[in-house]
Symmetry: C2
Subunit: 408 residues, 2 copies
């Protein structure tokens, strides 16, 4: 069959992370590798009740096809939710998607011809890399600083691409508690991003899977709320705020773009599940959504604090080791000295019954071998303590072995 | 934003049918236009009970992410179901999809570079046209005869494409009760199709959304069951057999292709809803699936019989009007004299409070203006009788007006 495959298929690789995750699924391993939300945060009793009620009493709206745009009674509260956060998207500027991975697929389809350039962070979310590469985009990495992308490097990268005859289409950002780094952009950099997008006539794709998960500090306005030209497309997901298994999210943006997204979605899956949409409709109608968000945030905050506190105590601090202190989300990011390779260290970690995700796959420039992502979402606070203690041990041993002459 | 859109987006059009459907949604119109399954066929009490039970007692499997391939306890009974029908696909040759529209999107992504040729029926399913065109394929139409594609025309079309320097990749067929025509392929033609695919080294994409909905006659073996070379990809959906709103289906095929499909699905939506998958798992575990299929078939058979009987009585039989007598599925197909244009006739039908789908959008060669699709799935037997009576009247008036000198 090989000669019949499309070019995109020949090049496509499965996520290295998913393959490595299999390694970490052994018993007794404390894993910081997965990025899964904690199922304890899903309002299961509520969902169980409304699922039965909806299917039994509202089968025409739950078991039958629905519109490609998605159910209006879901787009309406989403529109209000966005507005509370400063984003003005009327319901007809919103499309319900099969979670934000489908949002990524749809923006890729709408904007990307083979060879078109997408600007992404170094590091950036792997699912975005896969979606954009599936449409054969050229991904250009821009270094992430503590407060967002290096905007000079962003400008330069766009100029360089244009000089090489390439066509930049959009800048992909996760401005709040980014996966994988945990970094949040400053308002200044968000405004700077929009200035560059305006000057260069580019779209900004603002992915906000974690925005509602802020544990400390004050929210920074979404890029979309600062946009006066209609060039920001927002991707939202219910995976971290309601339940990941529903596969439910939304894409919001300027009407002209949203119309094209709907056309592409029609060809992609006709519509997102009526049943899961109705569960989210009821969630907005009847559940204490704001209270639920506070509960989730308090839940994850404890875990984040436990991981940060354990890192302070157990991670060797010499040799230029540093990590981010995310104000929300599910991840933090550890940087090691150049000569420590986290992929080479992984077997040692597995031996010590602790797992992490290697950083390199998040970098489109082939670097990042000395970084790792740690997720604090699934482990208990006891596991967080013990796991980081083990990890500190692993790093110490690895650094010692790198210093020892046998290794050379 | 227009200059930023991809080439595929500039060319993409929404389904004409969906736009026309809006016309038909006026009160008192008897509509044969929609292709929706009858919600009465969905086992709603069962689904309501298991949904509540699964969410309450099995939240880790229903509310959390699942694997891209889909749940094994769903792929296993599907594998057995396929085997009962002569198709040998072990569970690891099966991927759970977000219904068969996603199957179409995934095969398009896996196989199609811009300009690649896909052979399709004249007429063919519009969702397939949209999915293949989204990957910028060139669709080449092959006339459908009463027992399947004209295989000589198929061979010729492949040869012509190759001579023009184009690359044919696959032949797309719906061999059982095709949407829109209702036609079922003979076993002879199915074997002939495989011979051509083998000789030309092409893949066959066998879409079987209606296969389980046979009301009369003996099942013809699926193309995949006759395939000895591993070149058939099967698309299945639960939309007509369980519930359309779940957005659940499956793709089965040779391992090499399925692996690529999984890679593409990862980039497309990570996974299909865990919740809806679990409902189907329970459906296979606990429901009387075969009894359910018999009930559905008996239900639709009555409707089909009512429509066919009404057509016999009310449709003018002169002037070369003919229609198909499908042995299953949801649709039949009416052909009118060349000078009758069903799109031009539509306002007259709406006036008479009856609706159908015009045939032309199902033809990739720009023809079919004198055809229409009638769905018997949603109307009651009384509505079927009355609606066809009205339609007969509409056709008579239209033919009369076409004969009258005023119109010239």
């Amino acid at each position: 069959m090989n000669p019949l495959f499309a070019e995109r298929t020949k090049a496509a690789r499965r996520s290295v992370i998913r393959e490595l995750l299999k390694l970490t699924e052994q018993p007794n391993i404390i894993s910081f590798a997965g990025g899964l939300p904690d199922p304890d945060t899903f309002p299961r009793e509520f969902l169980a009740q409304v699922a039965a009620d909806e299917i039994r009493n509202n089968p025409g709206k739950t078991l039958q096809y629905t519109t490609t745009e998605g159910k209006l009674p879901l787009r309406e509260p989403l529109s209000r939710w966005f507005a509370e956060d400063g984003m003005e998207f009327p319901p007809d500027h919103i499309v319900i998607t099969s979670a934000s991975q489908q949002g990524l697929d749809l923006v890729a389809k709408v904007f990307l011809d083979p060879g078109d350039v997408v600007l992404v962070g170094l590091p950036t979310y792997i699912g975005a890399i896969q979606a954009f590469q599936a449409m054969q985009a050229k991904l250009v990495g821009v270094p992430l600083e503590d407060d967002g992308m290096d905007l000079h490097a962003l400008s330069d990268a766009i100029t360089t691409a244009r000089l090489a005859g390439q066509i930049p289409k959009f800048i992909y950002v996760v401005p709040d508690f980014q996966n994988p780094s945990g970094i949040t952009w400053s308002e200044e950099k968000r405004r700077g991003l929009l200035e560059i997008a305006s000057r260069e006539d580019l779209v900004v794709v603002e992915d906000m899977p974690y925005r509602k998960l802020r544990y400390v500090g004050k929210p920074v306005p979404p890029v979309a709320s600062l946009d006066e030209e209609g060039r920001v497309v927002v991707l939202f997901t219910f995976s971290k705020t309601l339940a990941a298994g529903l596969r439910l999210g939304a894409l919001a943006g300027p009407k002209e773009i949203v119309e094209k997204v709907v056309t592409m979605k029609q060809a992609t899956d006709l519509c997102t599940s009526s049943l899961t949409q109705r569960l989210a409709v009821r969630f907005f109608q009847e559940y204490d959504v704001e209270g639920h968000m506070r509960t989730i945030c308090a839940h994850y905050r404890k875990k984040r604090d436990a991981m940060l506190s354990a890192l302070e105590r157990y991670m060797p601090k010499d040799e230029g080791i540093s990590w981010t202190k995310p104000e929300g989300g599910l991840f933090l990011w550890v940087r090691f000295p150049e000569h420590l390779d986290t992929e080479q260290m992984l077997p040692r970690a597995i031996e010590h019954k602790v797992a992490y995700v290697i950083g390199a796959p998040f970098f489109v420039d082939g670097k990042g071998h000395n970084t790792m992502r740690l997720s604090f979402s699934s482990a208990t606070t006891e596991q967080l303590e013990e796991g980081i203690r083990r990890l500190g041990q692993v790093v110490e041993e690895e650094l010692a072995s790198l210093r020892s002459p046998q290794r050379v």
